[in-house]
Structure formats: structure tokens, C-alpha cells
Amino acid sequence: MKRAIPVLALSVAGLVPVWLYSPGAAHEGEINEAAAAPETQQQPQKQAAPQTTAPKTTGSAPKATGSAPTTQPQQQQQQAQTRTVSGPAVNTEEGTVQVQVTFQGTKITDVKALRAPNSNPTRMALPILRESALKAQSADIDTVSGATYTSEGYKQSLQAAIDGAQ
């Protein structure tokens, strides 16, 4: 599902030259170049690793060619101008998706999801993990989780000390 967002964003990006096009514009070439390889700041989407919890994205890729996008502001001439473009709302299997793309001239500088489904599978597909350094500690505990398979290993283990302490 989350993949629909970059797909939509790129679709919108692809339409930029069309929206910006005005006959006789001097910088037409620049626009096409930018559209061919847009520099985006969006985060690369992680692959949904788990097959069991990944949401179904079997629906066809949303097409952003439907309704006309709304643009603001109206001025289109200066290249360095910041423009915000809202894409069409697209219905997908998981819900409605709509993105907003901000351009600095012809470069995409920001992509926001105006509407994105927040169903459980969507969140499950991208697990949040904290990363830290391994630390060692000793503490008062009631039991030990660890892989203890042999009786010899058990005898020397913290768990044996806990079991024997009573």
C-alpha cells in the first residue's frame, strides 16, 4: 500500500511538464530533463519483508491521470518558485491515497501524503525498530531467557542459581 505513495508521487512528477507546459516557453528542455530524473527527498520505501502481514497490493497501480490536479500558486514562470501540487485522490484496495508534491522550480523538494490509509496491515508492513549498542548488566531477576540446552550448561547457568537459591 505504501508503495502507492511513491508511485503516485512519481506519476504526479511525470505530469509536471504537462502542467507547466505553455507553448513557446523557453525552458521547455529543462523541464523535461528534470521530469526525467526528478530529485526527490522522499525516503526510499522499505520492502515489506513479511509475506504474512504484508498488505495486498494486487490492485492495479493507481493512475494519476483522472481528475485535473489543482495547483497553487498560479504563477508558473520563475524557476526558483516554490509550488505545491495536490494530486488526485485515488481509491485503492486499502483506502484513498492522495499526495501533495512541493516543487522548488522543477525539483521536487517534498512529498506529503494528504490522505493515506492507516490500517493495521499498513503499519505491520513497516515494523519500527530501535537500534542501540549491546550492553551487559547484572540485576535481580526472577528467571532467565536464553538458549540452555544441555544439563552441563544448565548447571553453570544463572537459571540454576535462581532455582537452587530457594
Binding site: 522499505k46 509475506q51 525498530l129 530501535r130 549491546l134 532467565v144 531467557s145 536464553g146
Partner: protein, 246 residues
């Protein structure tokens, strides 16, 4: 009345710290573990698993318990693309990775059915807890440090729940990648917290079999919180992990 007891079953030292039950109830739990060993051990020639493996039983003739265990095996095998498997090529059927957590969870359920509300059952480092050992306090489940056997790397505070750890430090390379038949690498220790030990234990083992790919895979499993140490001694943990601040 409280009972503490340790017994070696399924090749594992199994301890129970039962705070509100008697020796009869504890024995019922241990008897169910011995029964699981007799039924599912691939090392006992007359076990149901061995008889199935030799072709003496068909899938239709199996007990519902073995059907459940095998369906869990199948589910995790499919979910891990075959990295986790009960049937490594060239070896016999070995559902031990699922049986251990499944059987210990069943023993814990027997304690609960017998009226116990406060206990800690530990089978070779896989833990099921219930209630609170002291009012207002959870069971403190220390996770063994992967390098230092007398140290911990985290302590979890658990009331009703299960904690399983899959790691390499003791038996050497004992987990094989079912896709290659080779020992797995990438991770040192995978700890999974869940409601049910069958889920926690199998998820930990399957994540281990996946190597580094197992980190995100395990974290994405429903109702599982993880604490994973990779070979570079980096720790990956779920925000929902019930870390106990000592």
C-alpha cells in the same frame, strides 16, 4: 502453597516456580511435558513423529495435536520462504522447534486450568509467566547476554506472557537454514515476547534461520515484540518490548 521443581525433559532443564498451587498440580504440568516428549520426539523410535516419518502413519491417521504442530511448522516454513523447516533435506522429520514452545505453553495452560494464577515456567530458557510474584511487580525475565554467560543484555518485566530466546552460544551452530541445509549466520541472539510461547519460540527460531532478514521479519509478526542482537553486536528492539528498568 508454593512449589519449586526442576526436571530434565525433552533434553531441557525445565523449572517451575509455582506460587499458588501444590505438587499435584505441578506434576500434572510435568506429566504433560513428558507425554509431549514421548509423542513428538524424533529420537524415540515409537513416537508418533518417528512413525509418521517411517511412513507407518498417514496424515489422516495423526492425532489432532500433531496435526496442529505440523500446521504451525508449515505456516512458518511458508512465511520464511523455507528458511525455517521441520524437514531439512536429507534429514528426518524434526518438528522440535515448534514442539518445545507448544508443549511448554500447554503445560502452562494446565497450571492455569488447575487454578494457578501466579507462576513462572522456564524450559531451557523459554519462559511462560502468569500474574505477579509480588503485588504490583512483574516477573523480571533477564535475557542472557550473547557473549557473557553470567551477564544479561536486557531485563523484561512480564505478567501474563511468554519470552523465548534463540541463540548460538551454547550448542554451537544448531540452527540450519532450511533453504541451504547450512548453519545460519548473521544473528547472535533473538528474543521474542508474545502472549503464547508456541508463537514466541517458533518466531525466535525462524528469525534466527533467516539471518539478518529475520530482524524485520520477526518485528513484523503479529503480537510479537523483539530484542535481537546481530553479529556486529547491534541491538534491534521493538518499541513495545516491556523492558524492565531495574
Amino acid at each position: 502453597m508454593s512449589v519449586r521443581r526442576v526436571e530434565q525433559i525433552m533434553g531441557l532443564p525445565i523449572s517451575v516456580d509455582l506460587r499458588d498451587g501444590d505438587a499435584v498440580l505441578a506434576e500434572r504440568a510435568f506429566a504433560s511435558l513428558r507425554q509431549a516428549d514421548a509423542q513428538f520426539s524424533p529420537f524415540k523410535p515409537d513416537s508418533e513423529v518417528s512413525r509418521l516419518d517411517r511412513g507407518e502413519l498417514t496424515r489422516e491417521e495423526l492425532t489432532p495435536d500433531l496435526v496442529e504442530v505440523l500446521s504451525l511448522c508449515d505456516w512458518y516454513e511458508e512465511s520464511t520462504g523455507g528458511a525455517f523447516t521441520a524437514q531439512v533435506p536429507g534429514r528426518g522429520l524434526d518438528p522440535c522447534a515448534v514442539v518445545k514452545g507448544w508443549a511448554v505453553q500447554r503445560a502452562a495452560d494446565l497450571l492455569r486450568k488447575g487454578g494457578a494464577t501466579t507462576f513462572c515456567l522456564n524450559a531451557g530458557g523459554d519462559v511462560v509467566t502468569a500474574g505477579e510474584p509480588e503485588p504490583g511487580k512483574p516477573w523480571r525475565v533477564g535475557v542472557r547476554h550473547p557473549d557473557l554467560e553470567d551477564q544479561l543484555c536486557v531485563v523484561l518485566g512480564v505478567r501474563d506472557g511468554a519470552v523465548a530466546t534463540s541463540a548460538l552460544y551454547e550448542r554451537g551452530q544448531h540452527i540450519l537454514d532450511g533453504r541451504t541445509g547450512q548453519p545460519v549466520s548473521g544473528l547472535l541472539s533473538v528474543t521474542v515476547f508474545s502472549d503464547d510461547l508456541a508463537i514466541a519460540d517458533t518466531t525466535a527460531t525462524a528469525a534466527f534461520a533467516l539471518g539478518r532478514d529475520g530482524i524485520e521479519w520477526a518485528a513484523a509478526q503479529e503480537d510479537c515484540e523483539v530484542f535481537i542482537v546481530d553479529e556486529d553486536r547491534r541491538v534491534f528492539s521493538s518499541p513495545g518490548l516491556p523492558v524492565h528498568v531495574c
